[in-house]
Each structure stands twice: as C-alpha cells, then as structure tokens.
Symmetry: C2
Subunit: 440 residues, 2 copies
C-alpha cells in the first residue's frame, strides 16, 4: 500500500546483465535445488564469461604483450577514473544522492563508470538501494550471510531469482536523463569506455594499441571490478563496528585502500547519505577528496554531511551497548529486591551473638571472612560491626575505592527495614541529638 506509487522493481526483459530468456511467470531455476546433473543450469555463464573468462584471456594475452611504461601509467590513471566512476558516481551520487553534480560531471561519471563494466547506473543503484534497505536479509542482493565468496562474485556468476531482490524506489533515477540515456545505450557505453577509449589513448598517444587494449582495457577492467566488488564482500567481513553491530558492515583501512575509500562501511551504512565515508582527515578516502575538489571547482554542490553531534551519538550508543554486554556477564551481587528484609534490632542482636555483620547504606553485609583480610586493619572494620557504617565507609573514616564498594556488594545478606537513612533519623530521635558524620 505505502509502496504503490513506485514502479515495480520486478525484473523486466530489458535489463542488461540478465538472461533475455527469463520469463517472470515461469518457475525460476533457483527454485530447484542444485544437483550434480543440473548445476550448470544454476551458473550464469554470460556473467561468468565477462567476470572470469575475459580476464583469463587477458592474462594469457599479456604473456605476449610487453608492458610499456607509458601504458602502465595510463592503466593506473584509467583504473582510478573508472573506479571513481563507480564510487563517486554510481554509488555516492546516484544510489545515495549524497551530493549534486553539474551536467558535465554527470556525463563524465556516467561515462567512466560505464568503463568499469559493472552494469548500468540504473541497474546498479537499484540493487545497491535494496542492499542498504534489506542488508543481510534474503532480499539483500549480495548478502554476506550467504558467504564471503557469494557476496564478492557469487551473486553474479550464479543465477539469481529476480523476485527475491527487495523492492526500492528508483523514481528519481527514472527521471534522470543521463541515467536513462546510459541505461538505454549501455552496451555501446561499455564497449567504448571499457575497451575502445583506453585503446585509442594508448594507440594514438604512443602507438601502443595492443598494450592499451590488453592492459588499460581488459586487465584494468578486471582489477577495477575485483576492487569495487570488495565493498560487498570485504567491507562486510573485515574490521570494526563503531556505529552498529546488528548488521555486517565493517570499517577497515585495508578495505578502504582497495576500494578508493569505501572501506569505512559501518559508518556508511549508518549514514548512507553522507558524501564522506571516512570522517577523519587522516583516513584514506580519495573518493571524498575528489568530490570535495569538484565542489571547489564548481562541478559539484549540495554536499550532504551529518553533523558530528549525530555521528558521535551513534558511536556513544554502540559503546554503551558493548559495555552493557560486558556488564551483564559479571556478578554484581544479589539484587536488593531478592534480599530478605531484617529489623534493625535483629541485625544488632545477631552481631551481639557473634556474627560479623555490618550495615552500609541500609544493606546488611556478612564480612566475617573478610575481617582478617581487611586492608585497613581488623580494628577498623570491627568498629563498624552492628552499627550503621555508611558514613565511616564512605569517607567518615576512609573513602573506600570503587573496588571496595564492589567487594562489599558481593557480601550482601539483607536489607534493613526502612533503609539506613530512616534508621539514622530514628536513632537521632531516640538519642535526642543532631546527626553528625565524622569527616577527616
């Protein structure tokens, strides 16, 4: 009902990276268990060819292709451009709208993002929004709960039941002309930006056509793919969870180094519309640096950022949660409401009969075994037996440490009826004099 205004996110036959023979009405292959006989039907052979087959052929071809220095430099540069196309473009601009970009920047990012060969902006963002909205559930397209390899490439090389993926609102993307154009012309974009353009640069630039094709084209695609796939695998598997540990996203420097700064992923899942992934200046987030630079140049604007107050609140809450877990594992003594209630007179009588009891803050403690161990000496602790020792214990004679308070609570045996304040007052009345605490 709430989602009725959205277009259906069910698979349509026009999706790239999806088998055109797929018919949403027939039972899907993923509804059949995998067996020795049908396993090859579960594999998405087209994706497997793109993600694993072509790079293999590239590796073999590289054996006969000498790597020129200029081509190497160009490969690294184009690796960063196409990587940024995914991280700054597909991810932070379109999937999360964490900032706005002018048309030239949009076109640049749509182009180099296409050169990374990871699907159209529209297809990628839809899956990514489902990943955020349904993280770690069956509706998460690359849930790490299905295994690290599954979240890395398994979800692409094995066939998916498109009905399984959670629905998300992509109406804004459907209204975006650059996104729609790139989606419609996806195959052309991929061929040109993925292979032809890098080959042209190296060929026209310094005559290394073959090197440009193999290194800046095929092998560069392989490395960019593997690096950005790490956001789905490594970033949900390795590192700390300073903001929320209910789900799998984690922060780690290594993931950040591999993914152009997308490695502070626990932060990112908590604050997905922040244009930053790293919030400290010393953390590695070249995607953030690029967006900030484009903003300086007037190419990007409206950079969204959570206030540090909100971020610190998340951190404090997660720390509190951890601390509460630690606390609940410890023995804090018998809870007060489970102790028997004793009359003050009974307490005094029991001590007169030789029991080593001492009342502190309205609670009776059995210190018999502790008297000879007391670091303050036997005499002092004995001087509290049968009395209200609250004041002496809390500074009147000696201001005991937290450790002493904790130790005391393990010796609880009862509560005085009316608590200690009441008793002090009663005795003061009885002895007809003012209440006074000795302060050293």
């Amino acid at each position: 009902e709430f989602l009725s205004s959205q277009p259906s996110s069910m698979a349509s036959k026009s999706e790239p990276n999806r088998n055109p023979n797929y018919d949403p009405k027939k039972p899907h292959i993923t509804d059949t268990p995998m067996t020795r006989k049908n396993w090859y039907k579960h594999v998405d052979w087209l994706n497997t060819f793109f993600i694993i087959g072509i790079p293999m052929m590239g590796l073999v071809a590289a054996w006969w292709t000498p790597l020129q220095f200029k081509t190497a430099i160009w490969t690294v540069i184009y690796y960063f451009w196409t990587g940024l196309g995914i991280t700054a473009g597909y991810h932070r601009l379109w999937a999360h709208k964490s900032y706005s970009a002018t048309l030239p920047l949009q076109i640049f990012l749509a182009a180099v993002g296409g050169g990374a060969v990871e699907g159209s902006i529209r297809w990628w963002s839809r899956g990514h929004r489902a990943h955020h909205r349904y993280t770690d559930t069956v509706k998460d397209p690359y849930s790490v709960r299905k295994g690290l390899m599954y979240s890395h490439i398994g979800w692409m090389v094995m066939k998916q039941n498109p009905k399984r993926i959670g629905r998300t609102d992509i109406s804004d993307l459907n209204d975006d002309p650059v996104v729609v154009w790139q989606h419609k012309n996806y195959i052309k974009v991929v061929l040109f930006m993925g292979l032809i353009f890098p080959t042209l640069v190296a060929g026209i630039g310094w005559g290394d056509w073959w090197g440009g094709y193999i290194y800046a084209g095929i092998l560069r695609i392989f490395f960019v793919q593997q690096a950005t796939f790490c956001v789905n695998s490594l970033a949900h598997w390795l590192g700390d969870q300073p903001f929320d540990d209910r789900n799998s996203p984690r922060d780690h420097l290594i993931t950040a180094l591999v993914t152009l700064g997308e490695g502070y992923h626990n932060f990112h899942h908590e604050f997905p519309s922040d244009y930053r992934n790293a919030i400290e200046w010393f953390q590695y987030d070249p995607t953030k640096w690029s967006i900030a630079m484009w903003s300086k140049l007037g190419l990007a604007y409206d950079l969204k950022q959570f206030r540090s107050n909100e971020i610190e609140k998340g951190r404090v809450q997660q720390k509190q949660k951890k601390l509460d877990q630690q606390r609940s594992k410890l023995d804090w003594g018998v809870p007060l409401d489970q102790l028997p209630v004793v009359e003050w007179e009974d307490y005094v009588e029991q001590v007169a009969n030789g029991r080593g009891l001492v009342a502190v803050a309205g609670v009776v403690h059995d210190v018999s075994d502790f008297i000879r161990e007391h670091p303050g000496g036997k005499a002092l602790i004995k001087s509290g037996l049968g009395k209200d020792a609250t004041a002496m214990f809390n500074g009147g004679v000696y201001n005991h440490s937290n450790a002493a308070h904790n130790l005391l609570s393990t010796m609880r045996v009862g509560v005085i009826r009316g608590g200690c304040e009441v008793e002090i007052w009663k005795r003061a009345q009885r002895e007809n004099k003012d209440v006074q605490f000795v302060k050293d």
Copy 2:
C-alpha cells in the same frame, strides 16, 4: 577516636633519614615560607648528600675505574636483587601484606631491601600506606599534585613537616620481629648490604674490590633509587587510567619496565592487596613472577588475588564514567518533559493546515525541512504526516537505523496527550477494529 588504638605516627627522634635535632613541639621550618635568605634551611642536606652527592662522587670515581665484565654482570644482578627487595619486600610484602613469606625469605628481602638505601621497612611502609590512604592530598607524603620532580625526589631533598603526613596503622609491622630488627639496626644494614657486601663479592670473587665498590655499590644504589622513585613520580603521571580516574595513578609499560613491574599503578591503587600489579601474562611484572616462583618453592604462601569478576567490574565502571562524560557533551534533543503537550486533534489539524509534522512514539516531530532530503524518498515520509507513524518508522515499512532515531529526536516539537499507545487504542475503539502493525 576510631584511630585511638593505633600508636602515634608523629615523628619520633629515633627515625632514620630524619634530622635528629627535630623537636615536634617547636614550629617547623616548613611553616616558614621559602625566601632567598632561608632557602638552604628548607633543604634536607643529609638526604641530598645521600641521593645526589654520593652518586656524583661515584660518577667521578668511575672515570678512573675500569668496568670489568664480571663486575658489570654482578652489578646488574645485584641491581635486580635490591630492586626486588623494595618491590617484592618493602612494597608488596610489608606495606600491603599481599602475600606471606617464610622467615628465610623475609630475612633475604629485609637484607637486599636495605641494600637499596631507601630507609627502613618500617619507615618506608608507613609513608607508603599514607600515600595509598591519602593519595593526592596534602597528607600524601609524595603527592604528585606538588609536581613531578617533587614526587620523584623533592619530597626527600626538601625538608618535610612530619606532622603533615597522614596517620596509618602500622601495628602489624611493630609486631614483626624482622621489621623491628631491621629498623633498629638500619645503619649497619645499609652499610653492609649497600656497600660492603657488593664490594666483598667482587673483591673475593675476582679481585675487583674497587670496581665492586664503585659499580655494584655506589652507582647501583643510584640506579635502584632512581628506578624505584619512578613509582612515585612516573606512575602517577604517564599512562592510562582503566580503573579509576579520580586520582593520579596510571598504567604504563615504560614505568613497568623501569620499576620491575610496578608500572600498572592504576590497577595497584585500586587493588593494593593483590600480589600482582600486571594481571595479563604478557605484561611485564618480574616482581610478580618472582613471588610466584617463591610460592612454587615453598618460600611464599597466601598470595592474595582479586577475582577477575571484581577487576572487570572496576573496568566496566570506569568505561561507563567516560561514556557518560561523552554522552553529556552531546545534544540529544529537547528533553521530553520540556516539550509542550498537544492534543491529537490539534496535531492532525496543523498537518491539514500544511505543517510537516509526524508523530512517532507519542512525540510530534517537525520534519518540514527534512522531507526533500529523506533517504527513503519524499513519498514515504509524506505518508506518515498527520498519522501515528510509530509502526511504519520502526519496521512496519522500514526499520530505521539508530542514526535515523537520533536525527528524529532533534526534530521534537511536542508530546501527544496520553502518548501514542493511548491514541492507537482510542482510534482502534473509534474505528471499532483491531490494532495491527504492518510487518514486512
């Protein structure tokens, strides 16, 4: 009154390391402010000569004294022995009674402890107990609040008003024959164990009388003194405070390395009767290792140890304190009890008049400025306006993150009379149907 059974801890004329001309009845020099004319009267020249003068002479003499390899080894060994005399003997055995020792071990520790030239067991332990009981106050004999140099050697090279030092119970030490004997024969013990014995070993052993005297005697005394003084200075100045940060004691590896393991000083002040200072096996505490070894050999027994439950409680409490401090610095939104109370009908009417209000968990929030920024899209957040959006916000449509809850609380503008549960019930009654939450 409580302390009346203790012997007075005021200075007596028989104390070693104290000017025999001192008369407790006359006004003390420390009651007079230091001026350019009387400063030399404030200096304790005897202590200065022992702590600074003699080592200087030793350094000069070392210039003409070649250091033999065997003497060097012996110096290091004797450094550790006399150091352990202070840490395992004076400190953990006598001052804190953290374990018991058989007579042979007591005699060994009283002897080598004397060789460190830091006063008698009785004098040292009394000051140390005052240091624990009155840490960081004027009654603390070596309070770091008076400066790092003061806590290191200032308290010895400057005259002290003995009346200032806090009183402590040393009746157990007065009953201890080894302690009393060492105190009475202190000068003899110091001369023999500090200088004569190390000289004899090197002289009779390998003929290096002069080297034994200068290196294993004088200079070794200097190093042991400076090292153990670091417990009073460095251990109250450098490092972390995992158990209690109200006072100055701190934990640091460097201090531990310098002081034979006394560097986990925050722990030690919290659990002074524990025979360990380091509780982890990988921390450096050779004093603990020695005591444990003596216990294996039957020389030590009754090693006292706090249960790890008690230790962890202290750690959790300190972490909680830090967290509460962080929490109190953040803005958690207007507290509920400071918000105006609104009728449900008023809330609905205001939204009908165009205000962007949404009620979640009985609290009205103004989300007007947030609608177009909402990461879940305008449509969804708008669908909550003028309604009770508690269930949709908490999982009915989308299970929002902690960050979203925190953000929401900054937008509070009022509370619904009766709270949300009451209103849900009222409406259910009105509409004559069961209450149901949509669960995805």
